[in-house]
Point group: C2
Chain length 422, copies 2
């Protein structure tokens, strides 16, 4: 049997008891005949505690030192996990990101993996040991300094190692059973999705589904690594994320799920002269301020005034920076005023099936209209339709879409889970 | 001006406030024109907390993983200290033991430094930065695994770096003002010693003085690195530890200090046949059990019985192991019985001046007799006399010796500190 990479998040290794439970799961996988490589995040709230400590001594800690500090978190969890496995009678060796060969660029706090050279991991596996690797961290190719990949980077570490080792699967363990058709806290009838394509998962992740991070899915898609998202608290099968051609078309729903996102704000630049280059200067200013904008809508110019309105969405955390950058442009661009609205939400339906099924947009919009939800902005991709609505109406919109496309159908769930006996 | 290496212990960086205070001291040294390399221990009780965590998941954690775990402690303190210096407007870069080039053997938990290749430290200094180095840790030359030097290893890291960098001094910061003529908690009139030779410091450290560790002093002596032990809570001059020829003979007392040690036990093997090889077989058994014995006394054989008693002292923590190892020998050696006594203490007077001063032993023993202290065992070196006494009499013995050799003389202290104004 081949190599299995397993990633455990902070909530799965929050305390000694959790660590021991995870150790038993790892040993079971080893006993089943697999070579096992484990990627682990920092225990529970360790990372937040370390950030708090940093802020106590320095209001603006340098990025290099913040990375050095935060990487202590996984160092603790991986060593403790290796010990717990050792006391079950199996050899486990822990490796830092640097020791595991996770080579990154030098962008502290948001480094990108540029190469993985897992020679020490391969040696450990060849000698029969279980390898435990610190997630979230690497070493800069140029400066040799320790780097971190940013929040959620441990998923990316796991997939990158799986790719470099030629693993047969990358299992992402979390505190929920898998990816759901919608957030179960909003839609009680939401059901777990057995299988999703990389493309669908990318759209879900980019539009608010928080289980997997965009970069991790992108890396898996590029390297064709199957991801299995599952719970560390049960043995249930979770959600597989695979190539489109590996999703059985018979079980492929038209719409796979409904995602939502309350982290964005909407800015409208009112009364922009409808002339060549004026819109470009606005978006250039935002790009220079390092702001990622999401959706953009430009209203049709009212011929009488030759003025237009430009609306766009962006992370709320960038709201103040964007407003400041835009305010500086008022004299040169000559717009009338800025409107800032952070009481908006985004609701998206995602499904590879919509490619070949006409009328999905109409059904989605009608379902929203039927529950009184007004659509403020629209954007679409080949397999996704997103709308911006008032934040207070997000729950109603998610439920309406979920019901319209029958995502909570109990019969489907019975078929999918019929064979597992759990 | 040259390079100054400063080492701060865990109590000096116990919390954010302490870290900031230490940062100011470091910046002051930098502003005075020195290149500064700082070696730092883990904050406060971090190491103990990590050991407790390890014990929660594994009763006998593997040594490799315990080292991986414990090194997270200095990683946190060094990064936080570098940030604190950064927020004072000076550049500081932190380095792990491995990054600082501290190469050790592979003996986890008690590794020995075999080389120091501080290329990255030198680069940082050349670029005007302050270098912060994790104490207590290194990397194995053979396995490339992370190692620790054992408790107190940070002092050794500091001296080893000072030697490799050609520093002009290694400053060891602690929570007391320096080395004292006796433990001030036992002898209220104890005074701080301004200057000691390496040899005297070695004898003091080996016989219970806890401020500096034996290995660190040995390393400094071999590489001729002056050590300055001082408080991180004041600007007072502390105690210099230097070559014998650099100790001004005019200020050289006959006895420099009185050390005591309550960590030992005494074992007596009663009724050993007084024949060739029988004593050897006892000490071979102890050596095989990895027990370091300290003092040994063999009583003169009573001619009538041709039996003798052998007494020795050893760390109390090894007592059980030693008794078990000796019990196995009873049949082959044929001794009568074993006596175990852990209510003993050792009191030592140390001073290079005793080389040229006859009668010291007599004065020491008389002083003990005058306060009713019975001597159970004796051992001596060229510059030290140690006695084993009942544990309950240790304080009385230390005070008697301190008074006999006038170590608390106020006039001497006034001369020594006369010029400092503090």
């Amino acid at each position: 049997m081949g190599i299995v990479v397993q990633k455990y998040g902070g909530s799965s290794v929050a305390d000694a008891t959790s660590v021991k439970r995870v150790a038993q799961r790892i040993v079971a996988t080893k006993k089943a005949g697999h070579d096992v490589v484990v990627v682990v995040s920092a225990m529970g709230d360790t990372t937040d505690d370390l950030i708090e400590l940093a802020n106590e001594v320095a209001p603006l800690p340098t990025a290099r030192e913040l990375d050095m500090l935060l990487t202590a978190g996984e160092r603790i969890s991986m060593a403790v996990l290796a010990m717990a496995i050792g006391s079950l009678g199996h050899e486990a060796r822990s490796f830092t990101g640097s020791q595991a060969g996770v080579i990154t660029d030098a962008a502290h706090g948001r480094a990108k993996i540029i190469d993985v050279t897992p020679g020490r991991i391969e040696s450990a596996l060849a000698e029969g040991a279980i390898a435990i690797v610190a997630g979230f961290q690497g070493v800069s190719q140029t400066t040799k300094d320790i780097t971190t990949l940013g929040r959620g980077g441990s998923d990316t570490t796991a997939v990158a190692l799986a790719a470099a080792l030629g693993a047969e699967v990358c299992e992402i363990y979390t505190d929920v059973d898998g990816i759901f058709t919608a957030d179960p806290r909003i839609v009680p009838t939401a059901r777990q999705i057995p299988k999703l394509s990389y493309e669908e998962m990318l759209e879900m992740a980019a539009n608010g589904a928080k289980i997997l991070h965009l970069r991790c899915v992108e890396y898996a898609r590029r390297n064709d690594i199957p991801i299995h998202v599952r719970s560390s608290f049960s043995d249930k099968p979770g959600t597989w994320v695979v190539r489109t051609e590996d999703v059985d078309t018979m079980e492929q729903a038209i719409i796979s799920g409904v995602a939502h996102d309350r982290s964005e704000a909407k800015i409208t630049v009112v009364g922009v002269p409808d002339k060549v280059g004026f819109a470009a200067s606005i978006f250039n200013a935002l790009a220079e301020a390092q702001i990622n904008i999401d959706m953009v809508v430009q209203n049709v110019s009212a011929a009488a005034t030759a003025l237009t309105d430009i609306s766009f969405t962006l992370p709320r955390t960038d709201g103040q920076t964007a407003m400041t950058a835009l305010a500086r442009l008022q004299d040169t661009v000559g717009y009338e005023r800025l409107q800032y609205d952070d009481s908006v939400g985004k609701v998206s339906i995602v499904g590879a099936g919509m490619r070949s099924e006409p009328g999905i947009t109409a059904r989605f919009f009608q379902a929203l209209a039927d529950v009184g939800v007004n659509i403020e902005m629209i954007s679409t991709s080949e397999i996704r339709i997103s709308v911006v609505v008032a934040e207070a109406l997000v729950d109603a919109a998610v439920n309406a879409a979920h019901a319209e496309f029958e995502l909570g159908n109990d019969e489907v769930e019975a078929v999918v889970y019929g064979g597992t006996g759990r």
